[in-house]
Symmetry: D4
Subunit: 256 residues, 8 copies
Amino acid sequence: MDQEELRALLDGLSQGEHTVDDVLQRLKALPFESLDGFAHLDHHRALRTGFPEVIFAQNKSPDHVAEIFQRLQQRSKQVLATRVTPEMYALIQPRLPEATYHPTARALYLDREPDRKKRPGVLVVSAGTADLPAAEEAALTASLMGHQVECIYDVGVSGLHRLLAHLPALQKARVIVVAAGMEGALPSVVAGLVSCPVIALPTSVGYGASFGGLAALLAMLNSCAAGVAVVNIDNGFGAGCLAARINALAGEHEHA
Amino acid sequence: MDQEELRALLDGLSQGEHTVDDVLQRLKALPFESLDGFAHLDHHRALRTGFPEVIFAQNKSPDHVAEIFQRLQQRSKQVLATRVTPEMYALIQPRLPEATYHPTARALYLDREPDRKKRPGVLVVSAGTADLPAAEEAALTASLMGHQVECIYDVGVSGLHRLLAHLPALQKARVIVVAAGMEGALPSVVAGLVSCPVIALPTSVGYGASFGGLAALLAMLNSCAAGVAVVNIDNGFGAGCLAARINALAGEHEHA
Amino acid sequence: MDQEELRALLDGLSQGEHTVDDVLQRLKALPFESLDGFAHLDHHRALRTGFPEVIFAQNKSPDHVAEIFQRLQQRSKQVLATRVTPEMYALIQPRLPEATYHPTARALYLDREPDRKKRPGVLVVSAGTADLPAAEEAALTASLMGHQVECIYDVGVSGLHRLLAHLPALQKARVIVVAAGMEGALPSVVAGLVSCPVIALPTSVGYGASFGGLAALLAMLNSCAAGVAVVNIDNGFGAGCLAARINALAGEHEHA
Amino acid sequence: MDQEELRALLDGLSQGEHTVDDVLQRLKALPFESLDGFAHLDHHRALRTGFPEVIFAQNKSPDHVAEIFQRLQQRSKQVLATRVTPEMYALIQPRLPEATYHPTARALYLDREPDRKKRPGVLVVSAGTADLPAAEEAALTASLMGHQVECIYDVGVSGLHRLLAHLPALQKARVIVVAAGMEGALPSVVAGLVSCPVIALPTSVGYGASFGGLAALLAMLNSCAAGVAVVNIDNGFGAGCLAARINALAGEHEHA
Amino acid sequence: MDQEELRALLDGLSQGEHTVDDVLQRLKALPFESLDGFAHLDHHRALRTGFPEVIFAQNKSPDHVAEIFQRLQQRSKQVLATRVTPEMYALIQPRLPEATYHPTARALYLDREPDRKKRPGVLVVSAGTADLPAAEEAALTASLMGHQVECIYDVGVSGLHRLLAHLPALQKARVIVVAAGMEGALPSVVAGLVSCPVIALPTSVGYGASFGGLAALLAMLNSCAAGVAVVNIDNGFGAGCLAARINALAGEHEHA
Amino acid sequence: MDQEELRALLDGLSQGEHTVDDVLQRLKALPFESLDGFAHLDHHRALRTGFPEVIFAQNKSPDHVAEIFQRLQQRSKQVLATRVTPEMYALIQPRLPEATYHPTARALYLDREPDRKKRPGVLVVSAGTADLPAAEEAALTASLMGHQVECIYDVGVSGLHRLLAHLPALQKARVIVVAAGMEGALPSVVAGLVSCPVIALPTSVGYGASFGGLAALLAMLNSCAAGVAVVNIDNGFGAGCLAARINALAGEHEHA
Amino acid sequence: MDQEELRALLDGLSQGEHTVDDVLQRLKALPFESLDGFAHLDHHRALRTGFPEVIFAQNKSPDHVAEIFQRLQQRSKQVLATRVTPEMYALIQPRLPEATYHPTARALYLDREPDRKKRPGVLVVSAGTADLPAAEEAALTASLMGHQVECIYDVGVSGLHRLLAHLPALQKARVIVVAAGMEGALPSVVAGLVSCPVIALPTSVGYGASFGGLAALLAMLNSCAAGVAVVNIDNGFGAGCLAARINALAGEHEHA
Amino acid sequence: MDQEELRALLDGLSQGEHTVDDVLQRLKALPFESLDGFAHLDHHRALRTGFPEVIFAQNKSPDHVAEIFQRLQQRSKQVLATRVTPEMYALIQPRLPEATYHPTARALYLDREPDRKKRPGVLVVSAGTADLPAAEEAALTASLMGHQVECIYDVGVSGLHRLLAHLPALQKARVIVVAAGMEGALPSVVAGLVSCPVIALPTSVGYGASFGGLAALLAMLNSCAAGVAVVNIDNGFGAGCLAARINALAGEHEHA
C-alpha cells in the first residue's frame, strides 16, 4: 500500500464510503514497508550521506557491479564501489566511462560535484606505506561524503620524530583515522596526543603472528588511551564513513 | 628544567652572562618533559575532559586506589574510579566520605558540580538487563565528563517492537552507545535506523560459544551497517569517553 | 498513540474535523510502538509458547530473579527460570513457595497445569551422565512448553550396543535432542539412524583440548550426517525450546 | 547373508535338516549388514528423502563425480551434487546430458518429477546478495526433497524496513532458513518475529575479523532468540535438508 | 531378547509351532542388544582390561562416585576412579575402606591382586616435577591393567645430560609415556632416541602463552620425530590405557 | 675423534707414551659425535625401520628431492618421499626411473624387496573417500616398513551398518589407523569395538567450522574411548609409522 | 662412573691390569652423565649465573618449595624462588629465616653478597603500575644475577611526554626490559628510540579482548621496530635472565 | 625551525632585538621535529647499524622497491631488501645491476664493503633444511650489519647426536639464532647447552596443527630454558638484527 492507496482509503472515510472501524482494521494490517515514515527515514539517510548504497564489489560478478553502479548513477551525484580489483575494473570500464578508478584504494567512484565545498576536519594517518590501501579507502570515502580530508602517511611508532613533526596537524583535526598493521600501536600514541575522537583502522599488513591483522586489531581494542573507536581489519570504508558521521556532527551546528 | 630555569637561562643570555652557543647547547639537551608545550598539551586535555586521570581499580590494592583518589580530588572537580568491587568500596569508603558508589557500574566517583549544565546528545542503549554494568559505566563516564545522558534498556533484537518504540529518541541523539552481549546484533540494527555515530559496546554476557564476549565483539566488528565504532569487551568507560569526545565535538561549534 | 487516539483521529476525519492531508501527515509520523499489529504479535507469541519470557538467572541478583518470577506467575500458568544455583534457590525459596527446584537442570519452575495432556514426540538422549544438566534442562523446557518428553541417558559412542538397544525409541521420535560433551560424536551417529530432525546439544563436559565444549561444538557443526541442528554449548533451554517449536509443528496438523 | 539365505536356513531347521544349536550358532555370527532390519532402515531413509546419497563434489575428481551421478540416476528420481564448480561442470556436462546446473548454488541436479506436488512451508531468507550461493543451495536441496520453497533475499538488519515488509510471509512459514554472513544478526531478528523453527545458516561472506564466517557462526550460536538451529558455515545443503526434515514432520499428520 | 528366548523361538520353529515366516518376521525386529555377539564383545573387553569401566570423578557428586565404586568392586578385582580431589576422598573414604588414595595422581583405586605378575615394558618419563600428576595417573593406570611400570622423572630438555643418563632404560622399554608441559619438547627428543612407540602426554603446566597446555599439545602433534602418539592435555589415564593396550600386544605372542 | 683415534690414545697409555692425567684430559673433551654408542644407535634405528630417512617433499625443490632420493636409494632397499605433487613427479620422474608414484597418497617410493614376507596386523579404516590421501599414505608407509596392511574405506559414522559389517576384520587387527575429517567421530566408535590400539588420523576434509581439520583433531583428542592415539592433521606418514612401530612390537616376540 | 672410577680404569690400563680392548669396551658404554665434560658444562653455567636452579613455586607445595630452597642455600650464595604467593610465604617463612620476600615481584630470595659490585647496564621500563609484578620480577632476577638495574615505571604510550622525559636513561642502557599489558605498544616505541637490544615483556594486565595478555604478546611479536626480543606473558624471570645473559656479554670484554 | 633559525632567535635575544618573553613564547611552540636532538638520534642509529632503513618488499610494487633501493644506495654502503620473490627480482634486476640476489633468503642486497673486518660471535642454527629461508635471512642480515656469522644446519631434536656434534661451536658463540618449525623444540635444547643469549626463530614449516608456525612459536615462548628471546614467525630479519644488536654490545667494550 503506497501513499496513493492510503490517501484513497482516507478519502473514502472522509466521503462516507468507509466506516471508521473499516479503516481502523485496514490500518492495523498495514505492511511496514508501506509506511511513508519508513521510506522517509531511508530517504533522509540518503540525503545526508550523499549516496544511498555503497557497492561492496568483492564476491560480486563484474556484470553485477556494473549494473548496480549504472542504476545508482542515475539517481545519485556520488557513487562508490569498494574492493574493485584492477581486473574487474578492466572488464567494466567500457560500461562506466564516467567513473574514476583509484588503484591504491581499489575503489571505483563517480563524483558529479567535484567542486562543491567540503567540510574540513578529517585527518587520515598511516603507520606505513603498506597501509595505504585501507587509508586511502577511508580518505576517499569521507571525501565523497563531503568532507575535506588531509593525509599524513608513514609515521609509525618506531620513529616517533616522524609523527611528532605533525603534532599541529594532529591537534587541529576534528576526527582522525589511524591506519596501522603489524603491532597496531599508532592509534594509542595518537590518541594520547589529541582530544578529538580517534578511529583505529587495523590493516592486514604483516605476517606470521599478525594472523591477518588480528594482532593489530587486538592491540587497538586494548588501547590504554581512552576514546579510541575500532573498526574491522582493512575496513577503510567503515572508518571513512564513521569519520564522516562524526565530522558531520561537528558541522551540524556550524552554520546554525 | 622548568619554565623558571628556562627563563633564567634566557635572562642570562639577554644580559650577556651566557653566549648564544652555550644556550644553544643547553637547549639541545633539554629533556622533553621540561618543554612547556608538552606540559601545556597535557594540561589542555585535563581542562577539556574535566579529570586528568581515571583510576582503573582492577589489580590495584584498596590502599592504592584510595590514595590516588584522595590526590585527584584535591585538584579536580570530578574524580572517577572504575572496576571498584563492593568489597573494595567497603574498605576504602571511610577514607573517601565525599565519594559516591554506583554499584551497578561498579564505579566510585566524586562530582563537585552536580548542578552544572550538561551538553545533551548522548544516548545509551542496552540489549538486556545483564548488560547494565557496562552500559551504566558508559553513562556515568559521559555524564561526569559533562554530557547529559539518556538511557534505554532491555531492547534486544529478538523483540524488535521494544526497540522501534524508541525510534524518536534514537533519531534525536547525537551519539549512541549500544551495549550488547550474546550475539551482539543490536548495534547493527540501531545503526541502520539513525545517521549519527554508533558506539558498539560488546559485553561478556553469555556462555559457551560466547567465549567471554568474543562472539559479540566479532559481530560488532563485522557490522553490515556503516559507521559503527567498536570498543573492547565490557569497556563501558571507553565507550562513555568516546561518546563524550564525539558529543563535545558537536558542541564545539554550538556557541560559536 | 494508542488505538483510542487513532480512532479519535479517524472520527475527526469522518466528521469533517480534519482534512485528509492532516490525517495523512499524522499517520506518517506514527511511532511504531503504537501499531496494534505489533503488540498483537507479541501477545500471540506468548499465547503459543505458554510463557512470555524465560528468566536467565545467571548474572542476575536473587532479588531480581524472585521479583521477575513473582510478576510472571501472576499472568502465566507456566514460569521457568534457568541457571539457578542451589545457593540462589536457598535465598529465594521463601518468596516463591509454589515453585519447584530441579537441582540437576539447575532450573526453578512453576507449572499450574501439571495434568494437562502433552504432545508426544520429543526424545532427549545423552552421551554420559555428566551431560545430564544440559539434557535435563532441555527436557524440562520442552515439557513445560506442553510436550511429552522421553529420555535415554548414558549411551555414548564408545559402547555402541547401548545406543543400538534403543533403536525403536529413536526411530519413533519426531524430534531428538542429543546432548554430548568431549568429542561430541553422538548426534552424528543418531542422525544416521533416524529420519527426524536431530538437535545437537554440545556440553562443556571434558577437559584439556575440549576447551570448554568447543571440541564437541565443532564436531557437531561438522557432522557428516545431514539434518543436524546445533545450539550453543550447554544451552539445554535453547535445545528444548527448539524441540518444542518443531514438535508443535508436527502437532499443528494433527487435529485438523 | 541376505534374506533368502536366512529363509533357507530357517527352512532347513523347519524341515529337520539343521538342529536348533546349528542355527543358533549361525545366527550369532551374523554379520550386521545382513540383517534385514538394517538394510530396511537404510532403504526407508532413501524412500523418504527421495535420494539415497548426495554427492559432495569438492575434493572429488570430475570423473568420480560423473560416475557416481550416473550410478545414482539409474535408481533415483532425484539426484543432487553440491559444490560443483563451473569448471567441473564443463568437464562432466557431456556425460550427464539430463542434469541441470544451478550456477549460483554451484549444484548439479536431476529431477525426473519436476511437476510433482510439493509440500508448502519452507522459506529461505538472506541478508545480502552475497549470501545467495548458500541460500540457493538450501532452497534447491529442500525443493528436490519435495518441498515448496519461497525466497526473500537482501533483507539485512541494517535496513529493517526491508525485512518488516515481508512480515506476513515470515509468519506464514513453517520453517525458515536464514542465511547471513558478516555479523550474522538476521536469524535473531527473524526468530523474534515468528514462532516456527528458524535455521541459521552462517556464510563466509565478509573479511578481516569475520574469519571466514566464524563471526556469523558465533553470533548465531549465541542468539538471544530461543529456538534457533545452527548449521555449519556455508552449509546450504545441511540447512535445506534440515528444513526438509522439519517440514516433512509438519506434513506427516496433514493427510492422516 | 536373550539367548534363551531365541532358542525357544527356534525350538518352536523346529517343532512346527511357528512358521518360517513368523520367525523371519521376529528376527528382523531383533533389537541389537539382544545379539549375543554384541554382549560377548563387551564382556570380552572387560575380561582383557580387568575393569569394565573407569570412573571419571570430575563433575560427579561424591555420593555418585562412592556408589559406582561400590558396585564395581563387587564384580571386579581392580577398580579405578580418576580425578578424585582430596576433598572428595575425605567424604567418601568411610564408605570405601578397602580403596587406596594416590594423592599425586588424584586417583582412588582398589587392587585385589597386588601380587600378580605384571608384564614388563612400560616406561613413564616426565619433563618436570610439576608434570607428576599426569605422569603418575598414567603409571597407576597401566599398572592396575597388569603392566609393570618404571618411571624416570624431571629430565626436561633444557638439561639434556639428565635425560641421556637414562638412555639404557629408554632403549629397553617397549612403550614410553612422556609427560611434559610448557614447550612440550621432550617426546620429540625421546622418540629420536628409541625405536618403540612413544606416547606424548601434554600437561597444563605453564602459564601465559601455554594456554592451559595448548602449546605443549601443538608441539607434540607437530613432532618431527615419527611414531609419536598424542593424547589429550593432562589425560594421564588415556596415556596409561594406551600404553597398556600396546604393551599387551607385545605380550600377546610372548607365551604362544 | 673416531674409534681408531681413541684406540691409539689408549694404546699410548698402555705403552707408557701418555700419562693417565693426559688421557683423562683428552677424554673429558671428547666431542659427543665421536662416541660409538651414538653412531650405533642411529644405525640401529635405520636397520629396524628399513629406511634411515623419509623425504618430506613439501617446500623442497624438485631437484633437491630427486637428489636426496638418488642418494638414499644407493644404500637402502626402500625409499619413500611424501607430499610429492603430480607436477613435482613429472619433473623428477626421468631421474628416478625405478621409483613408483602413488597418486592418491601423493607419495614416491622404491621397494627393492616387493616380495618379502610382511608382518600381518595393520588395518587402515577411513570415514569417507575424501580421506583417502591420508589413509593411503598411512597404508603405504606401514607397508614399506614391512607390514601387511588391510584397508576398509568409506565407513563413516552416519551409516553405522557399513562399519559394523566389518566387525570381524576390526577385531582381528593388532593396530588400526582410523582416518576421518569433518566431525572426526569414527575413531571413538572403532575404539569402542576393539581392544587393540587405535591411531586416530584427522584429515583436513571439510569446510567452514572444520577449520582445516581442527574440528576432527579436537574430537579425536577428546575421545571418550580409552586407548586412542592421535597424530597431526593429514599426517598419514606419522600414523603409518606409528602403526609400524606398534605392530613391530607385536612381532618382536612372535618368533621367539 | 665418576672421575675417580674413570681414573681407576685408566690406571688399570696403564698398569697392565686391563687390555686396551677392555677399556675401549667400557668407554663405549659410558652413560652420558658420567662424562666430566657434561658435569663441567653444568657447573660452568652455575658459576656464571650465580645460582644453579631457580625455583618455580607455582604448582609446588609449600613444603616442597621450602625444602628445595634450603638445599640450594647450602651451596649457593644467591637463591631465588618465583611465583611465591603471600600465603605460601607465610607458611614457609619460619623455615627460611634468612630469606627475603618481595611482595610485588611475588619472589622469595636470599642474597649472601648484597654488597658485591654489580655490572651496570640493565634498565627495566613499565607501561603502567599494574605491570609492576612482572617488571619487578625481571629487575630482581637480573639484580640477583649480578647486574645493576635501574627502573622507570608508568610511562605508557598514551602519554608520550612521560617516556620522552627519560630519553637519556633509555639511550644509556645496554639492554632494556619493557613490560606492558593491554595493547603492548611500549616496546616498539622504546626500540625506535635506542640502539641496544630491547626485551619485550607482555603482561596479563587488561580485560576482554586482551585475552590474558595475548593482545600484548602478539603486538610485541609484530613490532615494526627491529631488534625486539619477546618472552612469555608475565615471564619477568625469563626477561630478567635474558637481560642478564645479554648484559654479561657486554661485560665480557670490559675488563679484558 | 632548524638550528639556524634557533640560533637567529637567540642572536636576536642576545642583541636586544627580542625580549625574553618573546623568545620563551616561541620556544614553547617549537615543533618537535626541529629539535636537533631528535634528528641526531636518528642519524646516530643509521651510523651504528650501517643502513638507515631496510626495505620490506612484500606488498610493495617492484617499481617501488627498485626506487627505494636506488635512493638508499646513493647514501648507504649497505642496502637490504627482504621478502623479494624471484619474480620481483627478475623485474627489477636491470635497474639494480650492482645488487646481489640471495635466492634462499629471498633477499636483495648491496654491500660496498665486502672485505671489511666483521665482528665474530653470531651463530645461526636450523632444525631442518626447510628452515633455511628464515635462517639464511637472519645470517645475511647480521652479516650485512658487520658481524661474522657461522651456520649449522639440519640438527633437529629428533637426532640429538647431530646437534651434540657441534657442542664446541655452540659454546663458543656469543649469541645464537635457532630457527625451527614444526614443534619448535630446538631453541630449548640449545639454550640448555650454552650460557649466551639464544634467539628463537619460529618458522612456518609444517602443516595441519602447526597452524602456520603457531605451534613452534608457542613452544618457544614456553621454553623451560631461561634466557630465550623469541621473534615473530619467519622473521629472519628481526632475528638477525637482534643478534647484531646483541653482538655489537659484546664488541662495544672490546677495543676500549
